[in-house]
């Protein structure tokens, strides 16, 4: 019987099966940020085990609240900084070099097909875009990962999402994943890996695949995953060029991680993306999805463009193309956070930041910040935000606020009109 990519990765990393159905796997990368790691560090110190299983496999960043906004967040940064230093963790990204973890770590080439990855962050599923098993975990799993390089999971079943058809004008990877979550519901993929397949995924860039995989957790998924191919090789080439004779050889090698054609899935969903329109969430759950053309007049107070879902260069390019030559509506504040220093720098060189600033946006540094109501764009009670982030929970971006999740193009268009807006009328079709 054939195997899924995830089953192959688990088989290659299986360290122990202490009980039937429980698989303990070895880890290739353990990622750490300043919100969920300090308590693990404190516990390790308290146990007299302040060490790491392999400093080269630990990647650490200060990203959620940075630069520090107060004494408490400053202390979290200090704990991370000192811990990284005394444990010889070279890949530690401090203020000035730091960015949103799930944008920064792929950019550094830390993720490879077939890898196992954990982090004390639910959006770790993003890294499945590279054909890895990447799971968000709590602080205790993280602590054991840091100390022992292992993590326990239930035997992973997979759900196959077969994406066919052609993305219509104005419809993006974000609209696709919102549709997937609507179909699966918020717990439809609990304890499962969401495997994105089909010609639509094959044609997507790595940035688009990261947007897809990033929100697998919003359907409850343990990880999202895409099969590694020529796109994956192209993205990773600067980091793997010494390992392979050529790109074709890398593509051929990565095929060992492809799901077999007779692999078993607990469920398969087919979605024809040709039928999709620009979408948004309406409510406090990410599966409450509607077409933007059907939401009516919803006045907004803020536009937020950034995050591990949609704060990458292509996202800023799309948003800027919608915004160029326009102004934010009088009732709207705009905040844009390029997700990493490299993205910030490229956006600056390409003139994108100028476009945002001319439209009235505030450009802030790379950080998770407003997405979880921490800093740089927290909502006041009763305020509404058109956001490119991943969670619309009650209070997520600020107590009493309402978050509407959407693509960068839709968020940009909403900023121009001051209400939730289908972006298509603000976009120029190629060839026109």
């Amino acid at each position: 019987m054939g195997k899924t990519i995830t089953e192959k990765i688990f088989e290659a990393h299986l360290k122990d099966e202490p009980f039937s159905g429980t698989q303990v796997i070895s880890l290739d990368v353990v990622m750490c940020h300043e919100i969920t790691t300090p308590i693990a560090i404190a516990d390790l110190e308290w146990r007299g085990k302040d060490r790491v299983f392999d400093p080269s496999k630990i990647k650490a960043v200060i990203d959620h609240v940075t630069p520090a906004k107060d004494s408490k967040s400053a202390m979290q940064g200090k704990i991370m900084r000192e811990w990284a230093k005394r444990n010889g963790i070279k890949d530690f990204f401090d203020v000035g070099k730091n960015g949103v973890c799930h944008a920064l770590f792929p950019e550094k080439g830390f993720i490879r097909p077939g890898y196992t990855v954990i982090m004390g962050d639910s959006h770790t599923c993003t890294h499945g875009a590279f054909g890895a098993f990447a799971a968000g975990v709590g602080t205790t799993d993280l602590e054991v990962g840091i100390l022992k390089g292992v993590c326990a999971f239930r035997r992973p079943d997979s759900i196959k999402i077969n994406l066919t058809g052609k993305l219509q004008f104005g419809v993006f990877a974000k609209d696709v994943i919102l549709e997937v979550i609507r179909v699966l519901t918020v717990n439809g993929a609990t304890d499962k890996v969401v495997e994105f397949r089909g010609p639509v995924v094959d044609a997507m860039t790595m940035e688009e695949r990261m947007t897809l995989c990033n929100m697998a957790i919003e359907a409850g998924g343990t990880s999202g995953v895409c099969l590694p191919d020529a796109q994956t090789v192209e993205y990773l080439w600067p980091f793997i060029q010494n390992d392979y004779a050529g790109k074709d050889a890398a593509v051929a090698d990565f095929k060992k991680w492809h799901s077999d054609s007779d692999a078993t899935y607990v469920a398969t969903y087919g979605i024809d993306v040709s039928k999709l329109e620009p979408a948004t969430t309406v409510g406090y759950k990410p599966d409450q999805v509607k077409k933007l053309s059907e939401v009516g007049d919803v006045v907004i107070n803020q536009v937020y463009i950034g995050s591990c879902t949609n704060g990458r260069l292509s996202d800023l390019e799309i948003a800027a193309s919608v915004i160029k030559g326009t102004k934010l509506a009088d009732n709207v504040r705009g905040v844009v956070s390029p997700a990493t220093p490299a993205i910030f720098s490229q956006a600056m060189e390409m003139g994108l930041l100028r476009i945002f600033m001319d439209a009235g946006y505030c450009v802030v540094n790379p950080t998770c910040g407003a997405c979880l109501g921490m800093s740089t764009g927290v909502l006041a009670e009763g305020e509404v935000c058109a956001s490119t982030t991943n969670r619309n929970f009650n209070g997520r971006m600020g107590k009493g606020g309402m978050v509407h999740l959407m693509s960068p193009a839709s968020a940009a268009a909403s900023g121009i009109t001051g209400k939730l807006t289908d972006p298509r009328k603000f976009m120029i079709k190629k060839g026109e």
Binding site: K15, D16, P18, F19, S20, G21, T22, V24, I35, T36, P38, I39, A42, D43, R47, K49, H64, V65, D70, K72, S73, M75, Q76, I79, G120, D121, S122, T124, G136, V137, G138, T139, T140, D141, E143, V144, L147, K148, V150, A152, R154, V186, N187, T190, D191, I217, G220, T222, Y284, K285, L372, G373, M374, R391, F393, N394, G395, R396, K399
Partner: protein, 175 residues
């Protein structure tokens, strides 16, 4: 092993997320005890008072499905634990929350929807207590004038974590 059981707090809603259990703005705390006053501060549920008398008395939470969805923050189980709530009973959980509970040596018990409905009905008899017998896999609900038992099952791995006191203890002894 931790102690389990006591007065029940009913949270009659599905999809209660970890932002509701403990809002992100408190995640800059580096001590678990500091989370104590903020448990369920942002819970969106009609009639629920985050500062109600349940806060000092409750030891067991009974709720619906997909409890603990969203963020991976272990601050959610910790916020329960520092309020002496070490056992949650629900139809289902988000994976990370459930694992975090057992990783900390606490109980996240799953029961069929019909059983959870029945427990909610028992709650209409007035204050409900829940005794938890881990070895016998039994829950005994009691109220003024009666009691009722239910069996539960947890995986061998989850049971080992509860017995060991958590995943760090288990993994450290084994790997």
């Amino acid at each position: 092993m931790k102690t389990f059981g006591g007065p029940v707090l009913f949270l009659d809603r599905s999809d209660i997320n970890t932002d509701e259990i403990i809002p992100a703005k408190y995640l800059t705390e580096v001590k678990k005890e500091a989370l104590k006053p903020y448990l369920l501060e942002d819970l969106k549920m009609d009639g629920f008072n985050p500062a109600g008398s349940w806060r000092s008395s409750s030891r067991v939470v009974v709720t619906r499905s997909n409890f603990g969805c969203g963020s991976s923050r272990e601050h959610a189980p910790w916020a329960l634990e520092v309020n002496d709530i070490t056992c949650v009973i629900a139809v289902s959980y988000a994976r990370i929350f459930r694992q975090n509970m057992f990783n900390g040596g606490m109980l996240a018990i799953e029961l069929p929807e019909s059983t959870v409905n029945e427990i909610f009905e028992l709650g209409k008899n007035g204050a409900l207590g829940c005794a938890v017998e881990v070895d016998k896999s039994k829950l005994i609900f009691s109220w003024n004038g009666g009691s009722k038992e239910f069996d539960f099952s947890i995986s061998d791995f989850d049971r080992a974590l509860v017995k060991a006191g958590g995943w760090v203890e288990f993994a450290d002894a084994r790997y």
